[in-house]
């Protein structure tokens, strides 16, 4: 380990860690908010809603996130005039915003599929019983279906967050100094490959921390299942 290199880029690497965490937390949270309406649209009786949401999910799951980021970042640059006239250019001018925007749309597509699958796994009898009790649609969804679906969705959602942590490294291509961006910068100056090992370690720490937090979630949320399994 090169002490001079560490002194020069060690702190910047930690700044990069903060940027990576911000990118992932913000986009995964916004993506989760979008995922529910998209999942509902996918199973909606309306052909239009089904078609649009199908195309959306198909596009974002079927193309590389790098290509999507390029489209948003350099694409918005081409439409500067139009974006200025609707007062949105100041947002798209910012590389960090472009990353959040792209990552959010991308993860929303994945999360909506996870949610749709999880909701489908809740036995039909549950909603039939709720309807029979005279509960309204929204109550059935939020009080009966979703609580059960989210337990099923938890593990694949954790997987998706881990994928986002690693996938967020593409932000470095559009001038954002996340972990990967700082590693690239340090490598460009020093030609010392160990900076990529530092970066790998930081990503490992992030992913490992997340999977531990997720294990706690699972124990908490699935506590009643564990108890009932033990009793039966």
């Amino acid at each position: 380990m090169n002490a001079e290199l560490f002194e020069r880029y060690g702190l910047r690497m930690l700044d990069g860690l903060v940027v990576t965490v911000e990118l992932v937390v913000i986009s995964v949270t916004l993506g989760a908010l979008l995922a529910l309406p998209i999942a509902l649209a996918r199973t909606s009786p309306s052909r239009l809603l089904r078609g649009v949401s199908f195309a959306y999910v198909g596009f974002f799951r079927g193309t590389p996130m790098l290509a999507q980021l390029f489209l948003v970042y350099y694409g918005s640059g081409q439409f500067r005039g139009a974006l200025e006239s609707v007062g949105l250019w100041w947002l798209f001018r910012d590389a960090f915003f472009c990353c959040i925007f792209t990552f959010t749309l991308n993860t929303a597509a994945y999360q909506s599929e996870i949610l749709r699958g999880a909701m489908a796994s809740v036995p039909r009898g549950q909603s039939e019983a709720a309807w029979a009790l005279g509960l309204r649609g929204a109550v059935v969804l939020f009080r009966v279906i979703l609580p059960q679906a989210l337990i099923v969705a938890l593990r694949p959602l954790g997987n998706e967050v881990i994928l986002m942590i690693k996938g967020s490294a593409v932000a470095s291509i559009v001038t954002v100094y996340d972990i990967m961006g700082v590693a690239d910068l340090a490598f460009a100056r020093s030609f010392n490959l160990s900076v990529y090992l530092w970066a790998a370690v930081l990503y490992l720490v992030l992913v490992e921390t997340l999977s531990r937090v997720w294990a706690v979630f699972e124990r908490r949320l699935g506590a009643h299942l564990a108890v009932s399994a033990a009793r039966s």
């Binding site: 100056r189 030609f191 090992l197």
Partner: protein, 253 residues
């Protein structure tokens, strides 16, 4: 899986630092070139390599009496690929810097470069000194002398680095950057094109004595000597001037 990843990474580091040692009989020389830096290097419409660097490389090989092949390589991986033995020399507008000299050797210069700012025509900037540029958003291609110069001298500005020079120009045209610092040759070519219509050179060159050489692995001193002699020869016999005049109306030696 995580452990496997860490091990593969460690193995790569070892392999790269070990490199390919051993003396060689130089009958063939492989040359690394970025092929994305017109007019110095790039592809023409027929997908053939062209440019000042390419022509100089061919002329040097002819003078040395060796057979040359060119290998296209992304800029960021240029030196690592040289060290890993993918090719034997870099003839790709690489400036001679102290940092690079710690890992590779350089021949004598084969041209002299200047760094100049490029900005939108309606820019409000009049002073290109670090003080005048404080708080501005400045761009450059990563791993270049321009990037290094911005990082070191323009600490009060917001410096953004791009994988290729074209990406930096694109963002300048899009209005994301207040100015780009780059080599004068490629900027000149870009400004003359349709995409560069937005912009113009801004002020005098901030660096005028940036020497460009051919990078060679440290253990290949014999190859370095061959290149040095060939550079002197093509300058002396007028081959250099012919190539120079093909691309630039002024001498860049």
């Amino acid at each position: 899986m995580r452990i496997v990843k860490a091990m593969v990474g460690a193995a790569l580091v070892l392999a790269a630092s070990a490199g390919f040692a051993g003396a060689k009989d130089w009958t063939t020389v492989r040359i690394g070139i970025e092929a994305a830096y017109p007019p110095f290097n790039g592809y023409n419409a027929n997908n053939e390599l062209v440019g000042f660097d390419y022509d100089i490389g061919l002329a040097l090989c002819a003078k040395m009496g060796v057979e040359c092949s060119f290998v296209a390589q992304d800029w960021d991986g240029m030196i690592p690929a040289l060290l890993a033995g993918k090719y034997d020399a870099i003839v790709s507008s690489m400036s001679i810097t102290d940092e690079r000299k710690e890992v590779v050797d350089f021949t004598d210069k084969y041209y002299t470069n200047a760094l100049t700012f490029v900005a939108p025509k309606d820019t409000g900037i009049t002073d290109v000194s670090p003080a005048g540029m404080a708080g501005k958003i400045l761009g450059a291609q990563g791993s270049t002398v321009s990037a290094q110069y911005l990082e070191e001298q323009y600490g009060d500005a917001d410096v953004k680095l791009y994988p290729t020079q074209d990406d930096a120009y694109l963002d300048l045209a899009a209005g994301r950057l207040d100015a780009v610092l780059a080599d004068v040759g490629p900027s000149n070519l870009w400004l003359a094109g349709a995409d560069g219509a937005c912009c113009a050179f801004l002020g005098e060159a901030v660096v005028k004595d940036d020497l460009v050489g051919i990078a060679i692995r440290k253990e290949d001193g014999d190859l370095k000597a061959m290149f040095n002699k060939a550079i002197t020869d093509i300058v002396a016999d007028g081959t250099y001037k012919t190539i120079n005049d093909k691309y630039f109306p002024f001498s860049i030696y």
